[in-house]
Amino acid sequence: MSEMHELIIDSTTKILKDKCTKELVDTVEKGVWPEDLWNVLVESGITTIAVPDSIGGTGGDYIDAFHILRLAGKFSLPLPLAETLITNWLLADQGESPLFEPLTFSMKDNTLEIEQVEEAYLVNGTIENVPWGRFANKILVIGQMNNQNTMALLPLEKAEIQQSSNLAGEPMDTVIFDQVKMDLDNTYQIDKDQIMKKTMLLGALAKAVMMSGALEKALDLSIQYAKEREQFGRPLFKLQVIQQYIATIAGETVASLTISNKAISAFEQGSYEEEVANAKLKVNESAGIVSEIAHQVHGAIGVTHEHQLHQLTRRLWSWREDFGDENHWAEQLANRVLNNCSQSLWEFITRSEQKEPVK
């Protein structure tokens, strides 16, 4: 890792350690927007990282960005950082400068109609499961304009927001545009399938990385608790069964970190579909295993709202469903194997590690 990378990670860690406390996460879950923390992130350039500085971003690479997202997962950062970053990256792909406000996206087959009416646009349609919808200023969506697949960044102030939340209490809202008239800076003609696929992969990688961070923290908390808590006259970790649990959590955590680091490095190199599929699939599996065991280690205190553990486990459970569950990615991988019919499984697994197909 470069010195620059370490500097970015260290300073982000420091910010989150100071400001992103357990109490703050609780407060945001109650519905309060953490304006101070958001501003600090914007000022430190964290919300525009990996957007080239030539178009007004912070610069840096995706490795920096995804390692910051891992920290976001570790600290249960209650802000749409992944959503804002991905939106800014998708805009940058169109040559647009980044925005410094909270953003979200929904790159799905939305039934959204955009109509040009004189100087303005008229938007109609409903978008479900919008992360952070109520707090975001704008949403990047795919809609139909003149029967063309169009990407547009829509302001949310005139949209109706039906509030809901995921398992972790993070906003997961329904956004309704009912004959909303708005000005739009720009709309983009896009290849819908291509952009949906890219967003799915970006989202899956972001979530896999954030989950790896949450796993790290669940491991830390479990170790700490096993050291401090005494039963039968000795610390919990002296009990062999607790040692077995800690080792299992450690194993799943390292497996998740390793496979998501591989996906990050593949993403930076430009060929990453399969690596992301593997990462999200594996991290999802580990999330279930670790959550169960971490709670078992913590006993009753771990299932209280007072204890921090639920901020991690609820996110882990919830994020498993975001951008593809285990079955989704396993199916993608199965199709890839089916499409490479002449290859043996071993050739498939090692194909980037061999020179040319062995006859």
Partner: protein
């Protein structure tokens, strides 16, 4: 936490070419009928003729210095060879421990005479070693061993017994961890040494213990007043425990802790592809993803090992997860194909399933039980 994070390994162009070379050779040999693929071939695939062939290719002791017959290849190139051998299920049991453990032990701690005498023979695939650690009364608690060597004129007299010694009925030599001083209850690891025993010496009795299948892999070995010359001490007298432990990181994190059932997974995926059974292939791909994550971890450990870093905890983690995975392959595969597993079946997948299911209990026991490994991991984590 970051001490657990492993590096991502990328193969060089030369290494990719090398992988092809190894693979082509093995495929040709298989097609010629030199060997039949099987699961768990590093423990149960004994074939001295094939070991000699690998020796001729320079693929045994390949990281060792040229002066002892090695080819001074990197640890990663060795890793590639081992992976390719296990993926195809080639018989590598005969020379396995000599290549993995005893050779490196000689290089690190052996005398010049020992290196000159044994390494060239190992490299040729003609000289096989077993490792004598466990004893009838010392299983997981290895530090409690009591096999004892008494100092006499010009050497030692060895008495005691080893058990679960893989391959001793077919090997030429045995590296025995024994006590060369009286047991000290306050420092149980003190006063142990590693002695090299010629299995054909008078006083050595090898008695195979039949595996649950009736096959012979492991043995009891008895030592009755066996005379060991001074020249057969490996390393430093009294340093046996540390020397033995130093070998373990290599033993724990290699491809053999991940790939023992790979021939089964390969055949399973081939059948499901043939049937275009996406639903079941999906379940198989979940196994493949686990395998990919384990390979990345194992390669990360290999990279750190080559850089001389301490990987004790990560290596133990790889073995714990890897061996559980090996067993899982069998348990999941049997539900994805309808078959009657049998070691005698003419149908490949039925043989692989039988080999995997029957050998599976050993995966998570050999080389230290997974429970012992997890204890090591947890203690390391809590201390760190």
């Amino acid at each position: 936490m970051n001490k657990l994070e492993l590096p991502i390994f990328d193969f060089t162009e030369e290494q990719k070419v090398f992988r092809n070379e190894v693979r082509s050779f093995l495929q040709e040999e298989k097609e010629k009928g030199t060997f039949e693929s099987k699961c768990d071939s590093w423990l149960s695939g004994y074939d001295p003729a094939f070991s000699e062939k690998l020796g001729q290719k320079g693929w045994i002791g390949m990281t060792w210095p040229k002066e002892y017959g090695g080819t001074e290849r990197s640890a990663i190139e060795r890793y590639i060879v081992i992976e390719e051998l296990l993926a195809i299920g080639a018989p590598v049991a005969a020379h396995w421990f000599a290549d993995r453990q005893t050779g490196p032990l000689f290089l690190r701690f052996g005398t010049e005479k020992q290196k000159q005498e044994f390494l060239p023979k190992i490299v040729k695939g003609k000289c096989y070693f077993s490792i004598g650690l466990s004893e009838p009364n010392s299983g997981s608690d290895l530090a409690s061993i009591s096999t004892r060597a008494e100092k006499v004129e010009g050497g030692w007299i060895l008495n005691g017994a080893k058990t679960w010694t893989s391959g001793a009925h077919q090997s030429h030599y045995l590296v025995v961890l024994c006590r060369t001083e009286k047991k000290d209850p306050k420092n149980r690891h003190k006063g142990m040494s590693q002695l090299l025993v010629d299995i054909s010496s008078p006083g050595v009795t090898v008695r195979p213990i039949k595996f649950l299948t009736g096959e012979e892999h492991f043995n009891e070995v008895f030592f009755e007043n066996v005379y060991i010359t001074e020249g057969n001490l490996i390393g430093t007298e009294g340093n046996g425990w540390e020397q033995s432990m130093a070998e373990l990181a290599y033993e724990r994190s290699g491809p053999e802790r991940i790939l023992s059932t790979f021939p089964l997974l390969e055949e399973l995926v081939r059948l499901l592809k043939e049937n275009k059974d996406t639903d079941r292939l999906k379940e198989a791909m979940k196994l493949v993803t686990s395998l990919i994550s384990l390979r990345l971890m194992s390669l990360g450990v290999a990279k750190y090992l080559e850089e001389g870093k301490d990987v004790g905890i990560s290596a133990a983690l790889v073995k714990d997860l890897g061996t559980k995975f090996e067993r899982n392959v069998a348990e999941i595969a049997r539900l994805l194909v309808s078959s009657v597993p049998s070691v005698e079946s003419d149908i490949e997948i039925e043989r692989y399933l039988a080999q995997s299911i029957l050998h599976a209990p050993g995966f998570t026991l050999r080389g230290g039980t997974n429970e012992i490994l997890r204890g090591i991991v947890a203690k390391g984590m809590v201390a760190g």
